[in-house]
């Protein structure tokens, strides 16, 4: 059952709703892990902005950041946590629900 509360815009997850963070989360959702360079190239964000957004997502527990090596190459690898994955799925469902409700156009006879 859908309650009236479900149609409130403020029920959207604000951490994911911000455009830069939404891009990062949507990108990480489609992979297992990706490094900083790939995320920067794909999102088009500056190093500073990407770093700041990733830190915020890490603070709320949506993203895990690991410093690792692949051969001799140092990597900063990011991935969505189970909580982040679930939060994005919920956000997507909520947006779809809200958008579906806007399809009805009121009319008078």
């Amino acid at each position: 059952m859908t309650g009236a509360h479900d149609y409130h815009v403020d029920t959207l997850d604000r951490f994911i709703h911000e455009p830069a963070r939404l891009m990062i989360v949507a990108l990480l959702y489609s992979v297992e892990r990706a490094d900083f360079l790939y995320l920067q190239r794909e999102t088009g964000l500056t190093k500073g902005n990407l770093s700041a957004q990733l830190s915020k997502l890490e603070q709320v527990g949506y993203v895990r950041i690991e410093k690792t090596f692949r051969g001799k190459m140092p990597l900063t690898v990011c991935s969505l946590t189970a909580e982040g994955r679930q939060a994005f799925e919920q956000y997507r469902a909520r947006v779809q629900q809200l958008m579906a409700a806007t399809q009805q156009r009121p009319y008078v006879v």
Binding site: D35, R41, E42, G44
Partner: protein, 203 residues
């Protein structure tokens, strides 16, 4: 900022950005066709065993090839344009996919012989099968060079059906499609290296 719906497709396409997977797949196809061609001149029991072992060899080659490809990509690609770890298919799905593929091929050949269609149609059938796979890849990943590969497979299949016996024709389709993929992969790899080198210079 990029449109979000493109992310999944772009991420899948990123695996092909350097042309190395095509180069490897092409090489594997050439090797398979040469092996099967050599099997023709071997004792029937040995070639029979080789044919039965093909799915297992294919699976082992796929896994080993993936590892080797990953090692090369670490040196050439990940350091230049970034590293992505894809969700692995897992043993069961990989095995199911391989078995399904072989069942489809077996069903195709059985139905061709059941309806008493001339064996000359086998090479064009193989070419059409490759063409369908390439078209699917080209369409789903929006990679135009696969459309050219699809057309080439179809043309080779047609030509082989008209000029060769079914076995040689069939192997020619596999081998020449492999050569096409290997060449296309090499060209893509060279372009990728040149593009990333000029980006480094610009930075």
């Amino acid at each position: 900022m990029r449109p979000i719906p493109e992310f999944a497709q772009r991420t899948r396409r990123y695996w092909l950005i350097d042309g190395l997977p095509e180069l490897f797949t092409g090489g594997a196809l050439v090797l398979s066709s040469l092996t099967l061609f050599a099997a023709r001149f071997l004792d029937a029991s040995i070639s029979g065993i080789a044919l039965v072992m093909m799915p297992a060899l294919f699976l082992a080659g796929l896994l080993l090839g993936r590892r080797a490809l990953d090692a090369i990509k670490t040196r050439t690609t990940y350091s230049n344009t970034g590293y992505v770890e894809y969700t692995e298919l897992g043993w069961s799905r990989l095995l199911m996919g391989t078995i399904t593929g072989f069942i489809i091929i077996w069903a195709l050949f059985t139905s061709l012989s059941r309806f008493s269609l001339p064996s000359q149609l086998f090479p064009v059938g193989a070419g059409a099968l490759f063409a369908l796979m390439m078209l699917y890849l080209g369409h789903s990943l929006d990679v135009k060079r696969f459309y050219a590969a699809a057309l080439f497979s179809l043309l080779v299949g047609g030509a082989a059906s008209l000029t060769m016996d079914w076995y040689t024709g069939h192997l020619s389709v596999i081998g020449l499609t492999g050569v096409w993929l290997a060449v296309s992969g090499s060209v893509t790899f060279r372009r990728y290296r040149r593009a990333t080198a000029s980006q480094e210079e610009a930075a």
